[in-house]
Structure formats: structure tokens, C-alpha cells
């Protein structure tokens, strides 16, 4: 049965995935994000997303009624494997899928699920998150953005920071303080609103990589209907904790994007071999082998988790481990590319053979172990929640 499903997937992909969509984009930010003002990095992206969405394969495990394909975990894994086999580009890079949808499935009501999920599945609406604030980075629960109760709606005032793609998103899911007279973890709620609501101002933050994938978002008397609150008032922290584990998975999965440029082969091209067929740069060779070993072990670890539901039963608790190791590994990989490419990689506009923006990707990777909870926070969580340390 699995094999016939695999055959079906393979045939469909062969027919529908154009060659242009069988390579990773040069930068992660060049994945297609959908939305009302969708940015198109390659002309084939919208059609590829639409084709996949028509099969329900942008969200293969979701029920059909919400735009999914209702696949079993096993079949979904086969789909992923087959996509990976041909290097198929992820058709839709979406926080709606990776972060908001688990929350809606678990904490949302039927009405909210029906209103929001189908648009997420086909990439019609793009979402961003409103979490961190200038003085609430690692200590997220100390957030100060205030939502004042006005009967059927809230009036939101405050500021968010590190909102990924805040300037391209259509709606925001946002943590706000609805009660200031209880301990900090208990006064938080989780609300949704359109970024076009009056009073919302977005200002992109330029990173050292030159890109601006994050924004500051300011709220001045922003009206949010109470029907757009997910879960109960005060339940926001529980939702946030649940969501953050999904964010961590998503960020660490970025490290799994396989660039077409194999570092070993590339190093061979650049340095050549000695008389015994070994990479001439002997010192780099050891660094390379150590990296490849750890990267392979990490990839297998993730794959084992995907293949065996029971193996990933503790996945929620483990997402911190995945986030920690995956992002540190990604930083190592980017430093390794600098070692291989040398001075050429330090030119702003230099591109690798597969179009990789070496310098910008390298600089961007430094943020991986900060965004979505720093490595330090992940290690704290592993120590306390997985290892049970005091």
C-alpha cells in the first residue's frame, strides 16, 4: 500500500514539479510565502504552490475540510521523502502552517478553524507573530503590550519586536497583557488581527546580513474583536509555550534545506588533492569530516523521529534539543563555507554555484541561535524539562 502511494506521489511530482522548483532558493527568505501581497522570487512559485495546494499537500496531514489531504503520518513522511529525493522546493513557507495552525487545532473554536485554516493551507493569507518586546526577549512572559477590555473588543497599545516578515504579512497572532493584577504568566492572552487595522505601524529592522526579515510593530489603540481571541482570557502563556515548541521545530528545520553545493566536492574543486587523492588542505579536511559526521547524525535523528511516531512521542519536549543543535550546526556549516570559499565568500554579492549568497547566508545564520528562543534558553529548557534538573 505504501509502495503504491509512493509510486503515485512520484508520478505526480514528476508531472507537476517543474525543474525550476527542484532547487533550493539561494536564500531561505526566497521561499514562497503567499499572502495578499505575495512576493514572487521565481515566476514558477505561485503555480507550484497552487498545484500542491490543490492536492492538499501544502498541509498533507490536515483534514480535507480545512484544505489538507488527510494523510497518515506515514504517508506524509513518504511525501516528504519523495520531495526531498528530487530536491523539490517547499511550496509554501508559512508561519500560519508551522505555528498558528497547531494552536488553532488545539485551542481554537470551530468558527476560528473554519475562518482561518483554509486560507492558510492555500497561502491566501500570510501570518506573522507578535511575541518579543524590546525588554522581553528571553524573558518573554514579562511582555507589556496592553489589551484593554472594551466589552466586545480590546484596545491594544504597545510594541513588538523581532516580528518575522511583519512587513509582508496580512494578519498577526499576538500575545497581549489583558490583566496586570495577576502574576506575569497569568495575565496574557492570545489574539488575532489584520495588519491593516488602523493603529498598526510596521518598521523593518535591518540585520547585519543586509536583509530585513524582522520588524518592529507599534500598536496605537488597535481594535481587536474578542471573537478573535484564541482560548480563554489569561490562557495566552500556555498557548505561547505550546506554540514556541512548534516555532523551534520550524526554525531548526531550516537547517535541513540541502543546498546543491556539497561542501566536500566544492572543497575538492577549490583545493585539489594531494598525491594520495586526499584534499590538499589537510586541516580543512578534518573540520569538514567532523561537520559532515555531525550533520549526518542530526539528519538521521530528525528522520527517525519523522518515520516513527512513537519515537517522537516526546517530540514536544525535544523540540528544544532540535532547535539548539540544528541552529548551532547551521552556524558551523556557514563558517565552513567561508573556510572553503575564502575571500570570495566575503564579497557582498558573490554567489556560489547553486546561487548561494555565501556572505549574507553566513551573517543571517548568526541569528538562528537567537530568534525563536536563544540557544541558552533551549539549554535551560532541556536541563529543566527533559533532564529534570532543579
Amino acid at each position: 500500500m505504501s509502495d503504491s502511494f509512493r509510486d503515485e506521489v512520484r508520478a505526480w511530482l514528476a508531472a507537476h514539479c517543474p525543474p525550476s522548483m527542484r532547487v533550493a532558493p539561494p536564500e531561505i527568505s526566497h521561499l514562497y510565502g503567499g499572502g495578499r501581497r505575495a512576493k514572487v522570487w521565481h515566476p514558477d512559485q505561485p503555480a507550484w504552490c497552487a498545484a500542491m495546494a490543490s492536492r492538499g499537500w501544502t498541509v498533507p496531514e490536515w483534514p480535507v475540510e480545512y484544505g489538507g489531504a488527510g494523510l497518515s503520518r506515514e504517508h506524509a513522511a513518504i511525501l516528504r521523502e519523495e520531495m526531498r529525493r528530487i530536491g523539490a522546493q517547499q511550496p509554501l513557507f508559512s508561519f500560519g502552517i508551522s505555528m498558528l495552525s497547531p494552536v488553532l487545532f488545539k485551542f481554537g473554536n470551530d468558527d476560528q478553524r473554519r475562518r482561518f485554516l483554509p486560507d492558510i493551507a492555500r497561502g491566501a493569507i500570510r501570518w506573522c507573530q507578535g511575541y518579543s518586546e524590546p525588554n522581553s526577549g528571553s524573558d518573554l512572559a514579562s511582555l507589556m503590550t496592553r489589551a484593554e477590555d472594551k466589552g466586545d473588543h480590546y484596545l491594544v497599545n504597545g510594541q513588538k519586536i523581532w516580528t518575522s516578515y511583519g512587513d509582508e504579512a496580512d494578519w498577526m497572532f499576538c500575545l497581549v497583557r489583558t490583566n496586570t493584577s495577576v502574576p506575569k504568566h497569568e495575565g496574557i492572552s492570545f489574539v488575532l488581527f489584520d495588519m491593516n487595522t488602523p493603529g498598526v505601524t510596521v518598521r523593518p529592522i535591518k540585520l547585519i546580513s543586509g536583509a530585513s526579515p524582522f520588524c518592529e510593530v507599534f500598536f496605537e489603540n488597535v481594535r481587536v474583536e474578542k471573537t478573535n481571541r484564541v482560548g480563554e482570557e489569561g490562557q495566552g502563556w500556555a498557548i505561547a509555550t505550546y506554540l514556541l515548541s512548534h516555532e523551534r521545530e520550524m526554525i531548526s528545520s531550516l537547517g535541513k534545506i540541502r543546498h546543491d553545493t556539497d561542501p566536500g566536492r566544492r572543497a575538492l574543486e577549490i583545493f585539489g588533492t594531494d598525491g594520495e587523492g586526499r584534499l590538499r588542505n589537510a586541516s580543512l579536511r578534518q573540520t569538514l569530516a567532523r561537520y559532515q559526521l555531525d550533520a549526518a547524525a542530526f539528519r538521521l535523528w530528525i528522520e527517525h523521529g519523522e518515520r516513527h511516531p512513537s519515537a517522537s512521542a516526546g517530540m514536544g519536549a525535544m523540540s528544544s534539543a532540535v532547535k539548539y543543535y540544528g541552529t548551532e550546526l547551521n552556524k558551523r556549516r556557514n563558517e565552513l563555507y567561508l573556510d572553503i570559499e575564502g575571500a570570495d565568500a566575503l564579497l557582498w554579492d558573490a554567489r556560489g554555484p547553486a546561487g548561494e549568497a555565501w556572505a549574507r547566508n553566513w551573517l543571517r545564520s548568526k541569528g538562528n541561535s537567537i530568534e525563536g528562543g536563544t540557544s541558552e534558553i533551549q539549554l535551560n529548557i532541556i536541563a529543566k524539562r527533559v533532564l529534570g534538573l532543579p
Partner: protein
């Protein structure tokens, strides 16, 4: 997110753990270490282990084994690693039986494998001649004579050598040390004329030493018929995967014991496990052990599944990866275990410091970290 055990594997693992805690625990290890006899292992214990059926786990049913594969055998080795159990499992089963399974003729398998399964035959593989594993750097000579084969040479770091019944000797039939081809493998009785052994104490309290072959004559039937450089590399791959499984046991046990200690020991009025610097190191260590388990599982699966040249190539690569990774993680684990235990960690009376000795022996055997990183690079083509 490491692979779950099958029900069969789960049962096996549990029964080994129970047996070993009772019959081959660290207490028994200490008693054995301080023994005065020159025997290499406890024969009574070995018979019990054979009766449990664990010697035949990776051996074909045709020869009395249970054909649970190397994934099964590894569960036994992992428990042995956790308890520092001293048995001839590595020498006799992991190395010896595998050599015969991979390279023996039907007749040879029939005559030796069932005896390994029932515990009546013990073996030791005599391959290396130096301090570092170099599979083809074999100078020991095998010359064809009218009576069969005549072997001469010196083998170092041979395990369990005072007590095994036979040696599996890798010797050169043609060519020069370093040549990939021209090697033969011979099953040599311990009591053959010209065989002499000299044991040397090693840090892990196991026996190893020097085997000298002085014009030893064996008949043709003792020469394994399927020896090739590729078969020898497969043998090394299996052994390394097995050693990696024992190392995994050491990593997990040292981690578990240290985690427990972090929750018990107080300094400055606080449990030491509440200090963030130690928490972060423990968390990193935990992740490394997860990756270690993953890569060992994958190597064993690949060994058990390999059916064609590509499958064997994949398995070979994974075995080297597993060994390299486990050497790295075992070094981390044993060093951190001692350091986090502080003073008590460096004493002989406390168990945690014993693991580092066994770990380094396993790391070195059949190629250390550098050897396998080098192989990995070579197999990747750079």
C-alpha cells in the same frame, strides 16, 4: 527521537539488563579485576550467557543462531558497556563468529558456528600488529606447504588470549605489508605447536597481549575460503559497529549516573545540578548522546539490511561514522562524568572513573576517531 525497539528487542534488552545486573555487574568486574589467576574471563559466566542464547543472536538459524541480526547483538553489547561486564563476547562472537560467517565455507561454518552458539568454542581475532589499526599492514606470513599452511609472525593487542580455544589469524599469503590483497585468514588452535602467548595488563582490566606464531602448521581446512579485501573491510565494519554499541552503553550509563549525582550533591547550600553552567553542559551532553544512539542504530540497521554492493558500501560508511561519533561522544561523556563528580570522580573506589578506561580501549580498537574521520573523508571522495 531515537528508534523504538521492537517487542522482541525490548524483551531481549530487558533480560540482558537483568542478567547482567545480577551476574556481571561492576561489583563482579571489581572482583574479577583483582583476581590473581591468569584466565581471561569467567568460563562459568560465559556458559550461562550461551545458555541464554545471546551468542547466536547474529548467527544464521542454519547454524543454531536466532538470526536477530547485529541490531540484536548490539543490545547485549550495550548492556555489557553499561555494566563493564567482562566476557569474551567481543573476541568470540562479534569478531570471531563474524569472521567465520562472512568468510567461511559451508563446511567451516557448520563445524564452528554451532559451537560458538552453545558456548563451547571461544575465539580471538589476531589481526593488528601495531598500536594503530591498519587493516592491510599485515606482515605475518602464511606459506603453502605440503601439510597445509605454515604461519609465522607476531600479533599485538590480541584479546582474551590466554583462555580462548582458537585464534583467527590474519596472515599474508602474498605481496607486501600494506597491499590490499594477498591476505588469508586461518583458524589456529591455541594448543598448536609453535603458538605462544604473553598477556599484558591493560587499563580496562581485560586481558590482551602478544601472540607469537613460530612456524605454526595448520591444515587446509583451517583456511577460510572467502577472504577478500572487501570481506575484511566488512568484518572491520561489523566489529566497529559492535564496539560503538558498547561505547553507547558507556555514554548512556555515565550520563545517567552523572545526572543522578547532579540531583543529589550539594555545594554552597544548593544542589550542584541547579548551577546553570553545569545544566548547559549536561543538556549539550544529552543531545550528543541522542545523536550517538541514532547513528549506531542506523549503522546496525544498514548492516542487517545490506543485500548488495551499494547496501554494503552504505553500511561500511555508517559503521565508520558510528565509530567516529561514538569515540567523540564517549570522550565527552567520560571526561564530563569525572569532572562533574569532582574529587570522588577520580577515585578508584567510586565507579564513575572506571568507565573512562574501558571507553578509551574501545575507542582505539579497530581504528580511533582520526582513523575513521579519515576513512569518512576518503569514502566521501575528499
Amino acid at each position: 527521537m531515537t528508534l523504538p525497539l521492537t517487542e522482541e528487542q525490548e524483551m531481549l534488552s530487558r533480560s540482558v539488563a537483568e542478567f547482567v545486573a545480577d551476574r556481571a555487574s561492576i561489583t563482579q568486574f571489581r572482583a574479577w579485576r583483582d583476581r590473581t589467576t591468569e584466565t581471561a574471563f569467567d568460563s562459568a559466566l560465559w556458559r550461562e550467557i550461551a545458555e541464554m542464547g545471546w551468542c547466536g543472536i547474529a548467527i544464521d538459524e542454519a547454524y543454531g543462531g536466532s538470526a536477530l541480526g547485529y541490531s540484536g547483538l548490539a543490545l547485549v553489547l550495550e548492556q555489557f558497556g553499561r555494566h563493564l561486564s567482562i566476557t569474551p563476547m567481543n573476541a568470540t562472537v562479534l569478531a570471531g563468529a563474524t569472521a567465520i560467517s562472512l568468510m567461511g565455507s559451508e563446511t567451516q561454518k557448520t563445524s564452528w558456528l554451532p559451537a560458538i552458539v552453545d558456548g563451547s568454542l571461544t575465539l580471538s581475532l589476531a589481526w593488528g600488529e601495531g598500536a594503530h589499526f591498519a587493516p592491510f599492514a599485515v606482515a605475518t606470513r602464511a606459506e603453502k606447504t605440503a601439510q597445509g599452511w605454515q604461519l609465522s609472525g607476531v600479533k599485538h593487542h590480541v584479546e582474551d588470549l590466554s583462555s580462548v580455544d582458537r585464534f583467527i589469524v590474519v596472515a599474508r599469503e602474498s605481496g607486501r605489508p600494506g597491499d590490499r590483497e594477498g591476505l588469508g585468514v586461518f583458524v589456529v588452535p591455541h594448543d598448536a605447536k609453535g603458538v605462544s602467548v604473553e598477556a599484558t595488563p591493560r587499563v580496562d582490566a581485560r586481558q590482551c597481549g602478544t601472540l607469537t606464531l613460530d612456524d605454526v602448521v595448520v591444515d587446509d581446512g583451517c583456511r577460510l575460503t572467502g577472504v577478500t579485501s572487501v570481506a575484511l573491510e566488512r568484518l572491520a565494519g561489523v566489529i566497529n559497529a559492535g564496539l560503538a554499541a558498547e561505547l553507547l552503553g558507556i555514554c548512556e550509563e555515565t550520563f545517567a549516573r552523572t545526572l543522578k549525582y547532579l540531583k543529589e550533591r550539594s555545594q554552597f547550600g544548593k544542589l550542584i545540578g541547579s548551577y546553570q553552567a553545569l545544566q548547559h553542559r549536561a543538556a549539550h551532553w544529552f543531545v550528543e548522546v541522542q545523536l550517538a544512539r541514532t547513528i549506531v542504530q542506523e549503522a546496525l540497521l544498514a548492516l542487517d539490511r545490506a543485500r548488495d554492493a551499494e547496501g554494503y558500501r552504505q553500511a561500511d560508511m555508517l559503521c565508520s561514522m558510528a565509530k567516529a561519533k561514538l569515540a567523540q561522544v564517549a570522550e565527552l561523556s567520560t571526561n564530563e562524568a569525572i569532572q562533574m563528580h569532582g574529587g570522588i570522580g577520580m577515585t578508584d573506589a567510586f565507579d564513575i572513573g572506571l568507565y573512562i578506561k574501558r571507553a578509551r580501549v574501545l575507542e582505539q580498537a579497530y581504528g580511533d576517531q582520526h582513523h575513521h574521520l579519515d576513512r569518512l573523508a576518503a569514502l566521501e571522495g575528499y
